[in-house]
């Protein structure tokens, strides 16, 4: 599904990703953990196609296609979805209008005819229910004045509507209360299927109780320095990152 090979990226001349290797098979969920500033959001952004980051080396193959030269909207249409760590507020554009445009642009890309208003509304209502998203939020300007939790829930709602093949969740759990966390996790789990995969960036083992990952990776200083199964997340929760940092420094 996704194959990242020796990926390097920098911003403003500073190298952030220093050779990332990661292999994700269809149906798998990979958790990425790591200290603040290690490059997790950078990796997520580079995969989604943010142009401020300069890719200086490596390849990323998604579903058999090299994606590094694709525009963000093409990657989205191919099935990549990024749930932002900090969702952007867009005054004047309603959530519902925004999503309708997105859905129909993606359909156009795939050569499908646009959904009519009734079909679209029906689909959106179902998905909103799935993540317990209040209807009134849909009519408001996108994320404008939304609470932190509402913004995160809106990300998952959008994911549910767009049904991506690869979902990248960047700290979607932070800022959520316990109930919201469960609802968001259920939303993610409901999308799990043998042909959908996910990358879950988080600082907390708690989320992984709900979204059980197949693999856990530790990103540190722009490299994946340790990989394991969900037990690794418990170990990190218990011991912190010092032992990993020490291991890395020892290797040099």
């Amino acid at each position: 599904m996704l194959s990242i090979n020796e990926l390097r990226a920098s911003i403003e001349g500073k190298e952030i990703l220093k050779g990332i290797n990661l292999e994700i098979k269809p149906g798998e969920v990979h958790a990425i953990m790591g200290p603040n500033g290690s490059g997790k959001s950078t990796l997520a952004s580079v995969l989604a196609g943010r142009e401020e980051y300069e890719v200086t080396g490596g390849t990323v193959v998604f579903d058999g296609k090299e994606i590094l030269d694709m525009a963000p909207e093409e990657r989205a249409a191919e099935g990549i979805f990024l749930a932002f760590q900090y969702p952007v507020e867009i005054p004047g554009v309603t959530t519902i209008n925004f999503l309708k445009t997105a859905v129909n642009e993606i359909r156009k890309y795939k050569g499908e005819s646009p959904l009519d208003a009734a079909q679209f509304l029906k689909m959106v209502r179902e998905k909103a229910k799935l993540v317990s998203m209040n209807d009134s939020l849909l009519k408001r300007a996108l994320n404008e004045g939304f609470s932190g939790g509402e913004k995160k829930r809106n990300e998952i709602f959008q994911m549910a509507v767009l049904e991506p093949k690869l979902a990248i969740l960047d700290e979607t759990d932070s800022g959520l209360d316990i109930d919201a966390l469960r609802i968001v996790a259920e939303g993610v789990n409901s999308l799990r299927s043998p042909d959908r995969s996910a990358i879950v960036v988080t600082h907390y083992q708690r989320l992984l109780d709900y979204i059980v990952p197949d693999y856990v990776h530790v990103l540190y200083k722009g490299r994946i320095v340790k990989s394991g199964t969900k037990e690794l997340a418990f170990e990190l929760e218990e011991k912190g990152y010092d032992w990993i940092k020490a291991e890395v420094e020892a290797v040099g």
Binding site: A76, G92, T101, E105
Partner: protein
């Protein structure tokens, strides 16, 4: 100053006296005396140069370097109007072709007991005293060459009078069309809108051009808003690449009256709009909204004045622009709060998106406050499209051009929604969406 500039001016002054010499007794009327004084003022002021502070960023040299036919006839027919049409709604629609009222094309639907609508010429024939009580009363002291020029040649335009306590349900839409298909044409519409006590009306001026020769529209509208009255006034400019437009609207508001305005400049080579509101009453409310979209080498200049003369009134202003290519925008917003105008609230904001490094926007808020117990605020911003928002939208599959169009439309939305004549708002939504999607 170039020779050509003198040519247009000389030509206009000569024309004036030639016309005057064939007038009979009318030359001694009070009406004509106002025009005569205005001509002398125009002659003395001459066309402004950029050394004039009010015209610092707007150079009229190009406009004044050629001649225009101010008496051009037009063979315009209903068929020609098809593609100039604003989706219709029941309204009083008056056509002015090259500045002259065209009764055949016009439709009046409101009852005469509710509203008097006449061409200025017709109104003057019927009741010269009434027309003369309003004519030039507001703009006499403007000290502006274009306004004086308009006064000197005032001949046609609209005269609207709403008796006390009448609420006119159907809007009045004034369509000014320059027929520049075969020659350079000039027109100087002069409009008077006098609204009685507790009377309410919506009026729109819509400017269009046919053909690609040059057109020069120099328009003046005087609006009198009596106690407790409410006026909505819109100006929509969708003119040609060779259209020059200079317009002044001056408004005087009395106690507890309300005035809403929307000025939307969609297209035109050179546009200067002066909107000058005197709040000469207590508890008045004046709202001014504006939108402009210059591209290519177009130039759009909005000068506004909110002149608070009495206590307890409020003015509120929001102008927005999107500038592309090598276009230029100017915004100058003056707020005066006179010593008597305690407890004034005055707000002003001008926000711009500049899409090209070659486009420029000059904004100048100018606050002169002589009362101490007032609330005033002003702010101007000039920026680019929000890159974060753009990436967010693209990451959901929305193409860059579609995302830009959505963001720009959203930027305009709070001004568009203030246009309360449905047919005009819908027309604008369509034209603006198309305009934003086109590049």
């Amino acid at each position: 100053m170039s020779n050509e500039t003198i040519d247009l001016k000389t030509r206009l002054v000569t024309d004036f006296y030639a016309r005057e010499s064939v007038m009979n007794g009318e030359a001694s009327s009070a009406f004509h005396q106002k025009k005569r004084a205005a001509l002398a003022e125009f002659d003395q002021l001459g066309f402004p140069t950029t050394r004039n502070e009010e015209w610092k960023y707007s150079n009229v040299k190009d406009l004044t370097s050629v001649l225009y036919n101010f008496n051009a006839g037009s063979s315009i027919t209903t068929a020609d109007l098809e593609d100039l049409r604003i989706p219709s709604q029941e309204a009083n629609i008056l056509y002015f072709i090259n500045g002259h009222y065209n009764a055949d094309l016009s439709v009046l639907v409101s009852a005469a007991s509710q509203i008097i609508i006449d061409s200025l010429q017709e109104a003057y024939k019927k009741d010269p005293v009434l027309v003369n009580t309003y004519f030039n009363e507001l703009v006499e002291d403007e000290k502006d060459a274009f306004t004086a020029l308009n006064t000197a040649f005032a001949h046609d335009g609209v005269f609207i009078h709403i008796p006390d306590n009448q609420t006119v349900e159907h809007p009045v839409i004034l369509r000014f069309i320059s027929d520049a298909r075969i020659q350079n044409v000039g027109s100087q519409p002069r409009n008077i809108i006098a609204v009685g006590r507790n009377a309410h009306v919506k009026v729109a001026e819509a400017y269009r051009t046919l053909g690609n020769e040059r057109s020069f529209t120099n328009t003046v509208t005087e609006i009198f808003v009596s106690e407790d009255a409410g006026v909505e006034y819109y100006k929509v400019q969708n003119e040609s690449e060779n259209a020059y437009h200079i317009g002044t609207t001056k408004v005087k508001m009395l106690d507890r009256s309300q005035f809403y305005s929307g000025t939307v400049t969609l297209n035109g080579r050179f546009t200067r709009n002066n909107l000058n509101i005197i709040l000469d009453g207590e508890r008045c409310e004046a709202h001014m909204y504006g939108l402009y979209f210059p591209d290519g080498t177009q130039h759009v200049d909005n000068h506004t004045v909110a002149d608070h003369r009495k206590p307890n009134s409020e003015s509120n202003e929001l102008y927005k622009g999107i500038l592309r290519d090598r276009s230029k925008g100017v915004f100058n917003g003056k707020i005066f709060v006179r010593p008597d105008a305690q407890k004034t609230n005055a707000f002003q904001s001008c926000k711009n998106i500049v899409l090209s490094t070659d486009a420029t926007m000059n904004t100048k808020p100018q606050l002169e406050i002589f009362a101490d117990d007032v609330k005033c605020s002003h702010g101007t911003t000039t920026g680019q499209i929000d890159e974060e928002a753009l990436f967010y939208m693209r990451s959901r599959g929305i193409s860059q051009s579609e995302a830009m169009a959505l963001l720009m439309f959203a930027f305009c939305a709070d001004v568009i929604s203030q246009i309360r004549i449905d047919s005009i708002r819908e027309y604008l939504e369509g034209v603006i969406a198309e305009k934003l999607a086109s590049k």
